[in-house]
Symmetry: C2
Subunit: 335 residues, 2 copies
DNA sequence: TTGAAAGCGGTACCAG
DNA sequence: CTGGTACCGCTTTCAA
């Protein structure tokens, strides 16, 4: 079933059918109705491949998601889809594997889908600045900071990870904790992990405390299981710690569970603080102390910036959106 | 940058470049090398739109995911992608909104992407049997039961929801609970919710107990928040219940948290049992009693069945995979 | 082994 | 307002 078949059945030319299906105004009402009737009858839909092959620009905004596993990404995605709905653009979501290069993928998608803009969710963009720099269209990174990538039409909206982490650390210090362990991702690069670590360290330094990376830092992936394992290692290398700063809620919860299994109750014996503010954090027992990232705001701002770049040719922009500290029930005051 | 540009630069015809890029054997080694060099130099990639427009069949298996929000779906998706990697097929993932018709979408994708098979994750297929019936290629539903859809090349792999729910109910009964509330989705249709409800009821009936739907059933969506709200309603309509059967772990956790806030401790005051066996269930406090669905097995079996249909023209097949009951810490024995 | 050319299903321009 | 037609980038058949 092609546009040709429809045209034949309507007794008109393919061009006419195309015009009807694309809502062009220059078609007589009579013809339009006839065509629509036949189209409906067959449930006909235009072949997107042919359409894109021809098109110079589609009204599509591409959303590139890297790693579906994160709860955060899912809520961002949901919000973006909802916000795009009433707009003249349509969203196309592409899910990338954890390990493939999002900028390369973006370049390919550009030439194929011809989107008017791209939204990046997740991933760690420092890996491939060059590929990012090559992108010829408006892009926005959501939840990753892009301040460091230059020479592109690349914006970003994110939480101020440095300040937020520093805020959490200050809270722990204020509650009388000085022996603090950290559970986080791999350091290095300009990723989120490093920013959070820097913020944490800055607070400790300001308070005149040293941080012994070797005994007080445990590396963990983004999973309950890994968070739990990291907690075990931490308790071994740093048995007298009184608080743990985890770089995600998921790690924090893995840690809390493991601590409980080791007979250490949170917050009575050990305090734990998370990061992200996922819904679960307020449904866990105990409720997690954490940094709530306003995912809806992140998504909205990201979209706004992108639309500004697309429609008004606005320059790239790197924006922080405010975070909220939730004190929860997982930190005990030693003072 | 098109195949024409490459051809010009190589001093050969487009057909030759195409043959090289598709690994056809009938190209001289010399020509092949020259073409590949130029291709590499420009990082050239074929335009997928043009390719698909032309192609009769792609070696693509389409994965249609409905509703990203579910943790279960994400782990299924991950597993499927991993398993497909070494195969001759490539996976293409399409994420659908909660509310659009997956069978219609599948029909469109069929004519556009020309996949060799489709995997459906999530959604409730009873809505549109006709559209499913129209699908002209091997399909498999994972985690949904498709026993009832006829006249299609439609297979399914799922947990035996009826038996599993019945098993949970029996467990509660054996622990001395007779006043049991239920938190679940909308009933009706042949969806998972109804199957679980039927299984639950069957056990109660077998034990000679009546179930008062009006006071003992609270409807909830798949979220912590809704599970919590449902728990509130349930405690109001059925204050003296001693156990709650929740149709998902997420609902169960929402309920447990709300019960705690109402001063009812789980399992001391109220017992709660979940369903799904998501990773969180064993990291929550208390650990959840639940039905563990073997997601990896679900994914593997689904893929196997699909491949059998594609490659050996095997008939559709509806398969249950075994589940595991986890007793956890959220149910108290009254006996 | 290679080149030339006919489509795949649309869109958009040009004439009428 | 409508029909005819040249392309979009690629694959594949047919000849050379």
């Amino acid at each position: 079933m092609t546009i040709k078949d429809i045209a034949r059945e309507c007794g008109c030319a393919v061009g006419t059918v195309s015009r009807v299906l694309n809502n062009h105004p220059d078609v007589s009402e009579k013809t339009r109705e006839k065509v629509l009737a036949v189209v409906k009858k067959h449930d006909f839909i235009l072949n997107a491949n042919a359409k894109l092959l021809k098109a110079q620009d589609s009204k599509t905004i591409e959303v590139l998601v890297k790693g579906t596993s994160s709860i955060l990404l899912n809520s961002l995605l949901e919000r973006i889809q909802k916000r795009m709905e009433p707009l003249q653009y349509n969203a196309s979501v592409v899910v990338l594997d954890e390990y493939d290069n999002e900028a390369k993928a973006a370049n390919r998608i550009c030439s194929e889908q011809k989107p008017v803009g791209i939204i990046f969710l997740g991933g760690s963009p420092d890996l491939c600045k060059d590929d990012f720099a090559r992108l010829p269209l408006p892009c926005v990174l959501i939840s990753n900071e892009a301040q460091f990538i230059e020479g592109t039409r690349l914006s970003s909206v994110s939480t101020d990870n440095f300040t937020a982490a520093s805020h959490s650390a200050d809270y722990l210090l204020r509650m009388g904790h000085t022996k603090i362990g950290v559970i986080g991702g791999d350091l290095g690069g300009s990723g989120i992990t490093q920013r959070r670590y820097d913020g944490f360290l800055a607070s400790l330094t300001r308070a005149g405390l040293a941080f012994d990376y070797g005994k007080a830092y445990a590396t963990s992936k983004y999973s309950f299981e890994d968070g739990a394992a990291a907690a075990s290692r931490l308790m071994e290398s740093y048995p007298d710690l009184t608080a743990i700063f985890a770089m995600s809620d998921v790690m924090a919860i893995g840690a809390i569970r493991r601590l409980a299994d080791m007979g250490r109750k949170v917050p009575d014996d050990v305090s734990v603080i998370g990061f992200d503010g996922i819904p679960l954090s307020s449904y866990y027992q105990p409720r997690l102390a954490t940094i709530r990232q306003e995912t809806d705001l992140l998504a909205d701002e990201g979209l706004n910036i992108l639309l500004n770049m697309i429609e008004r040719n606005a320059p790239p922009q790197n924006k922080f959106i405010p975070f909220e500290f939730i004190s929860g029930e997982s930190v005990r005051c030693l003072a």
